[in-house]
């Protein structure tokens, strides 16, 4: 059981992260919330402050995590504010338009920078923070889309796939150091990021439900978590379709 008393959330304005933050605050945690959009971040931090008890500290920090040169300074700032860090959740990301990416190298690389490279930068610095402490939790929201490249969104999928693979290696390294590295793979979640999708059907979940699964995985120190769990079965099938068939499908 990991105690989640001082937690950093990167991408705190994402709908899933906000629900995670509320659940952590209701369990007594102090939070350091990093977000890109200042007015959204302020709204969320104010809400969390109202929900928090007098002894809990809630701090907001506005920056664009694509600027990786700032990452070290952010981690130092967190330590000034929270003292120790028990856990981090990396939740920032964008959902690129696949067709636009196909017509633009710049856009493709920018999306990979946001959804993969900036996360890898944070992971590198954070693992060096946690390693000597011999404890801690690093949770990252990857995606089921990272399990197999598909024509409909392989720029996003490749970025998430890089993150998932990086986390596998990091988990392997950190397993001996007492640090839990958790890969979260949500399926379809009803959030503003997916506003343009038709959300009828049983595959869609609410962010509150995904957040419960994330907090649970962080407390228990799980490894790879599909949320909701049935996505493990769906992705098992998708991963095992032979490539000569898969390439003809329109997934």
């Amino acid at each position: 059981m990991n105690a989640l008393k001082r937690v950093v959330i990167f991408g705190a304005t994402s709908a899933i992260a906000e629900q995670v933050a509320r659940q952590l605050v209701s369990q007594g945690a102090s939070l350091f919330c990093v977000g890109r959009n200042n007015s959204k971040l302020t709204a969320i931090v104010n809400d969390l402050k109202v929900r928090a008890g007098a002894s809990q500290h809630i701090e907001g920090f506005c920056c664009d995590l694509v600027n990786i040169e700032q990452h070290q300074a952010i981690i130092e700032r967190v330590q000034e504010v929270l003292g120790e860090i028990d856990a981090v959740l990396i939740a920032h990301g964008t959902l690129p338009n696949q067709q636009d990416c196909e017509n633009s190298v710049d856009l493709t690389l920018k999306e990979i920078e946001t959804n993969a490279l900036s996360i890898i930068s944070l992971l590198t610095l954070l693992s060096n923070y946690f390693e000597p402490k011999q404890k801690g939790v690093i949770a990252v929201i990857s995606s089921v889309a990272g399990d197999r490249g598909r024509q409909s969104n392989y720029v996003y999928g490749a970025s998430k796939g890089m993150v998932s693979l990086f986390l596998q290696g990091l988990r392997n390294r950190m397993a001996k150091k007492g640090v839990d590295v958790i890969t979260i793979k949500p399926g379809f979640v009803d959030t503003p990021m997916t506003a343009s999708f038709n959300k009828s059907g049983l595959l869609w979940s609410k962010p509150e439900k995904i957040a419960q699964g994330i907090v649970n995985a962080m407390v228990k120190g799980k490894n790879e978590v599909y949320l909701p769990g049935f996505w493990w079965g769906i992705m098992f099938i998708i991963k095992h379709i032979p490539e000569f068939i898969f390439k003809k499908l329109s997934l």
Binding site: S39, A43, R51, P192, S200, W204
Partner: protein
């Protein structure tokens, strides 16, 4: 995601688009078809929250607290937060909602827009009287800060304004102090309405919360029998009982209504015979105020055809006579209501131009939808209401005729000057025609 309907599943109308708001200051309007209509948690019973054109603006994502001062008891929060979330925050800190409807699953924006009332109307008035301020977004992009002293007309128009004056983005509310989460509740049977009135007058003098349940399947000598419940927030106790909330859910809509004359008669007879507690007992606030919240999707017991709510208010001078006539008609048609609730409103003046609560008596009923048979009964009840100078509650209406609305809400024309030209609802199109 299912297409939004209201809680009684009637009428089945769908807007062109549905847009989920997630940040109150985020612009959204440019690419969406008008008219707009805010939709909170879908707990009203009818079409005040529905439009068959334009865009429904879902406010559930605007569910953040902005500020809470536990010393003064003033809270400011976004409009889409539900009362249950507010209670979870404030009750442990010794505060309570000054007015609460019979479910805590409504949004605070919806509570303002329908100027809801509770069992304590005779002491506290309706919800709008405790609203300090709110922010109103208009479809031309202007943002109005409304309070009893600023933009007063928009304040009065939007309280009970059915979401037509624009989008309420946040609400500031004055709370009420309590000692603990417990209620002291007394219940007492009465044999008929003649017995009810003096009992009710007495209860109103001694208790801030009163409400009566009427057995509307009982006929003959038993007609008008029921139970009067009176309550107050409990004083500090040396020890408190243990309370654990249990919820159940109705998993699906049966093809037909489970509410029928046979089940109704059995339920009402059993309910009447429940152990009353004239000497009083402690009850946690959750089961006291929100008994139906314990059964998720309770609306499904009425089956796929849905149901109608019917809630009227009758001015005090005609209250006794009209209550008796309404009940007589319901009993005669044998189409009784599952929960028939009678409550007297006090003399507190409501703030809103279209506020429903006014001095007199209110009677709330629900009827499974049996098509024209049900509509005919409701139209006959309308006649009694209109003759007595009463009105129907827009939040619970899916069918009232325009003439009844206009006679029941004489300020409707003044109100209509403050409607946002980019907002409309099916309710409004019907009653203003």
């Amino acid at each position: 995601m299912k297409k939004p309907l209201s809680w009684n599943q009637l009428p089945r109308v769908f807007s062109e688009k549905v847009h989920a708001l997630s940040y109150r200051q985020e612009p959204f309007s440019s690419h969406l078809p008008k008219p707009f209509l805010p939709y909170g948690n879908g707990r009203s019973y009818g079409d005040v929250c529905l439009t068959d054109e334009g865009t429904l603006l879902l406010t559930q994502g605007l569910d953040r607290f902005i500020e809470f001062n536990p010393v003064t008891g003033v809270i400011r929060c976004e409009a889409g937060i539900i009362l249950a979330d507010i209670l979870a925050l404030i009750v442990p800190q010794g505060w309570f909602l000054p007015v609460t409807p019979g479910t805590r699953l409504v949004t605070i924006g919806g509570a303002v827009a329908n100027d809801v009332h509770g069992k304590n109307h005779h002491v506290m008035g309706s919800f709008g009287q405790h609203v300090k301020a709110f922010e109103l977004w208009r479809s031309d992009g202007t943002v109005l800060h409304c309070s009893p002293t600023e933009n007063t007309n928009y304040f009065k128009a939007s309280i009970g304004g059915l979401g037509l004056t624009g989008l309420i983005r946040w609400v500031e509310l004055r709370l009420m102090p309590i000692n603990n989460p417990w209620m002291w509740v007394q219940s007492q049977r009465f044999q008929n309405l003649d017995e009810f009135w003096p009992l009710n007058t007495q209860a109103e003098q001694n208790f801030p919360y009163t409400v009566a349940w009427i057995d509307c399947m009982a006929s003959g000598n038993a007609r008008g029998r029921g139970i009067l419940f009176a309550g107050q927030h409990a004083a500090s106790q040396s020890t408190y009982p243990v309370f654990k909330e249990k919820t159940k859910r109705i998993p699906f809509s049966p093809p037909f209504s489970l509410i029928n004359p046979m089940s109704l008669r059995a339920f009402n007879a059993l309910y009447y015979r429940q152990g009353v507690k004239p000497q009083g007992a402690l009850s946690h606030y959750v089961p006291y105020f929100y008994p139906l919240d314990a059964i998720q999707n309770w609306n499904r017991i009425y089956g796929r055809h849905g149901f109608y709510q019917y809630q009227c208010v009758i001015p005090a001078r005609h209250a006794k006579d009209a209550a008796s006539r309404l009940l007589e008609m319901i009993v005669k048609r044998k189409d009784g209501s599952f929960l028939a609730v009678l409550k007297t409103f006090g003399n507190k003046q409501s703030v809103g131009m279209l506020s429903f609560a006014r001095p007199g008596m209110t009677f709330a009923l629900d009827f499974p939808n049996r098509g024209t048979k049900t509509l005919r009964l409701l139209a006959d009840l309308d006649t009694i209401v209109q003759e007595a100078g009463g009105a129907l509650y827009p939040a619970k209406d899916a069918r009232m005729p325009a003439h009844l609305f206009k006679s029941g809400f004489p300020q409707w024309e003044t109100f209509s000057q403050f409607i946002d030209p980019g907002f409309s609802s099916n309710f409004w199109k019907r009653v203003s025609a």
